[in-house]
Amino acid sequence: MQRETQSLSRLRKAAPNSLPRPDGELEALERAWAPPKGWRRLSAVNNTQVGLWYIGAALLFMLLAGLLALMMRTQLALPQNDLIGPTLYNQLFTMHGTVMMFLFAVPVVEAMAVYILPAMLGARDLPFPRLSAYALWAYLIGGLMFFGTLFFDAAPSGGWFMYPPLTSYEYSRGIGADFWLLGIGFIEISAIAGAIELIVGTLRTRAPGMSLGKMPIYAWTMLVVGAMIVFGFPPVIAATLLLEIERAFQWPFFIAARGGDPLLWQHLFWLFGHPEVYIIFLPAAGMISTMVPALARTGLVGYRWVVAALIGVGILSLGLWAHHMFATGIPQLSLNFFSAASMAVAIPTGMQIFAWIATLWRGNVQRSTPTWFLLAFFASFVFGGLTGVMLAVVPYDWQVHDTYFVVAHLHYVLIGGMVFPLFAALYYWAPLVYGRKLSERIGTWACALMFSGFTVAFLPMHLTGLLGMPRRVHTYQAGLGWDALNLVSTLGAFTLASGIALVFVDLALSSRRTRPERPNVWHAGSLEWLPQGAYGVRSIPRVEGQYPLWDNPALAPEVQSGQHYLPGTATGARETIVTSPIDASPQYLLLVAGPSWLPLLAGAGTAAFFLFLTVKLMLPAALGGVIALVACWLWLWQTDRGPVHAPVDIGGGITLPVYASGSVGHSWWAMVVLLLVSGTILSALVFAFYYYWTIAPGPWPPAPDTLPAWPWPAAAALLCAGSARLLRRARQALDRHAHRGLRAHLGIAALTSLSAWMIAIHGQWQAGSLATAHAFDASVYALLSYQGLFVAVVLIMAAYLLARSLAGVLDGIRRVSFEVCRLFWLYTLWQGVFVLAVIYGSAALAGAT
């Protein structure tokens, strides 16, 4: 990471730019940010547009999954009901869980961040708007197709947790499970895109002066969430890859008869699954930390405690996964570790709740719809959290695990902890979209209906579970004491649904009466309430405290009249300021990407590729893949524009370059995040590899004679090292502007990287190791294949760099493309060496002892 110096002394008290502003400055800014009109609007990539679509798409999936829930509740209203048979019911609950978790909860919190975060940070846009657009389209198209499988009786029915062997090829022969794995693929892509935006956005695009210590809690939250996605999603990415490979090629990762273990899936799934719950809850907590001070008209009590709590939740949540596995028979000693960590995570959550109550206590609270939703949140989330503590008690969990008690608990946590705050947020931030508040009357009614319906539906479910009703049953016997409770729950569910419907009525009514201006209706202190156009704020404010609008009541007119930084467009294109990660001193001007069809095309191509692959239509799949690849290529080609303009005076005596290479650049940061994700996926695969060692009943490796002799891996490792050296020579050539030398070294380095991989995999193959024979061999091939994927990307990158060099758009100055690719490439090479060391080093060690 790069070092930064104190340049805050340059920030003087007076506003950085003087009045009057030159003629045409505002008009040029408006022109640069003008949204595309008519059907071209679909090519928009600006965060205010993409964010709204994103929120809308996520809410659509909430409605769809909610309808499935109503169907299930109708079936369960009466005992021994035969309205819906087990086949459809199993699809319904699988889709309900999957769609709610993956296509609603995670996307909606990311979507809210896409919409709100840049404004809150004082940025004009996210650092990579086209990446957000791509993530949206891949998610929306893929999600709709995924949901559509219900209408073709091809929906998955293995539960949202997809435990093998039930979901492996032997017990789920249809393509439903493949569709599930595919659907998750989309959300994995968009989640990681989101993490990159969140991390780079919060660390690098904050308004000048908004140091880490003045950063809004919501931004802190999304930073922590971004990091949690980086470390939380990889296990499930690894797991879905392994399961799909097992289904398609019979590699026995989870098949006990051939050395695999179904529990490995559970470990990997819950390594993701528990952080996932907090990836959903923390953004809601961040919204609450933003709404509570505004509604109470006083700053958040215990800012530092809340930041510590966020970090606490983020890290502690990585040590809870096995509390979903208390009944699997893993050793008591291990169970207690997870029990302790599950209780420890309650503390930072409690700290946040008391910080909010203290803030409400100190302030004069505005009584409005968001307030009522926040009350609903307190009542339900606290109770849900406490039943969560009960579930962390190992012996108690042995009784209630997988019963309706857990169903009740998780809905208390998710609806209470995330949906109520989300609806509070919809009412709170609606004025940003509509220019006015939504209807207080409808909102209050909706909140009352939702909360009462929720309570009537889910409070009795605790009892249903304690009376012994297991989850995921399509019907139940009469006379076990569950009949009346289930009927009541069904009535509650429909009440809850009517409350949600009322909110959508309110949204629909309001959209016809939109007012253009964005008044600060709550008198909030954060930057998103500054007057904004399509370009965001007219000038980017200098921030001096945690609540800039309260700290400087004149800030809004100052900003709007252009007295703060960058009051226009310097280059005629879209721009935002990149600042240093700790104290937010301005570093350079980021040229923000404008409207383009390429993200939509790439997203549609990606969706088509996966979908056609799932239904085994190879030709259309290949076509989709090519479209996606070409679109990405063209899209990237337009980036890295080089120093197209002389350094720009943004006001306050600060002059910024319009191009930055090296570790200061935002693309470099994005690549670092991506590599952290890659490394964590690798760790998950390595975990799997060693996991088979701990469970192996006999010798390990099971068949040492099917391992290659040492010269094979040694040669591969040497080639990796050699390739890294060639890459260094390529960089030296670039420094010297030696284009031919650059191309020659790049080409040879690419070939060396490829041959290293081919030697490694051929060595394994010629020794007689078959991936279908045993989980050990399968895990070796999985590691080597993962490396192969990276080598393939490296080859594409090499071709891309060669093309850029030939086209004359890569040189010693305009070199971000090279640097970013080189980072990935070097990672790939060292990953190769590491993989070889893990496989053959461990095997040799185990063989020696």
């Binding site: 104190q6 510590a308 970090i311 050793p331 291990s334 302790a340 960590a341």
Partner: protein, 120 residues
């Protein structure tokens, strides 16, 4: 004074990273002890596994203390200098609070071993 974002993030998360290290160590130790059958082996009358876990926890607590002292010094320096950079002060406070959370988590982490020993 210049400081990298990497070391600042390390300071903020350090306490709980220590907890995470202890957690990982104990998880692997427990899994191996139960899978390879040395959970009950003893050395001079003290169980090997409980001894390892308690020693690791003590080391982790010592690490927390060091981190807290480091953060306190940083905070004091900032207060003394009255510099514009408020993040150092915030970071120092947050780092200590994170250490407090980590201390609780570590105490609870060894509680089962103290109560019921190593029991697979």
């Amino acid at each position: 004074m210049s400081v990298s974002i990497g070391s600042r993030l390390l300071l903020l998360t350090g306490g709980l990273l220590i907890w995470a290290g202890l957690f990982l160590f104990s998880y692997i130790l427990a899994a191996l002890a139960c899978a390879r059958g040395f959970a009950d082996s003893a050395w001079l009358g003290v169980g090997v596994v409980p001894l390892g876990l308690v020693l690791a926890a003590v080391a982790a607590m010592a690490g927390l203390l060091r981190l807290i002292r480091h953060a306190r010094r940083l905070g004091a320096r900032v207060q003394h200098a009255r510099r514009l950079d408020d993040t150092a002060g915030v970071s120092a406070d947050v780092a200590r609070m994170v250490c407090l959370l980590a201390a609780i988590a570590i105490a609870w982490h060894v509680l089962p071993v103290l109560i019921s020993g190593t029991h697979c």
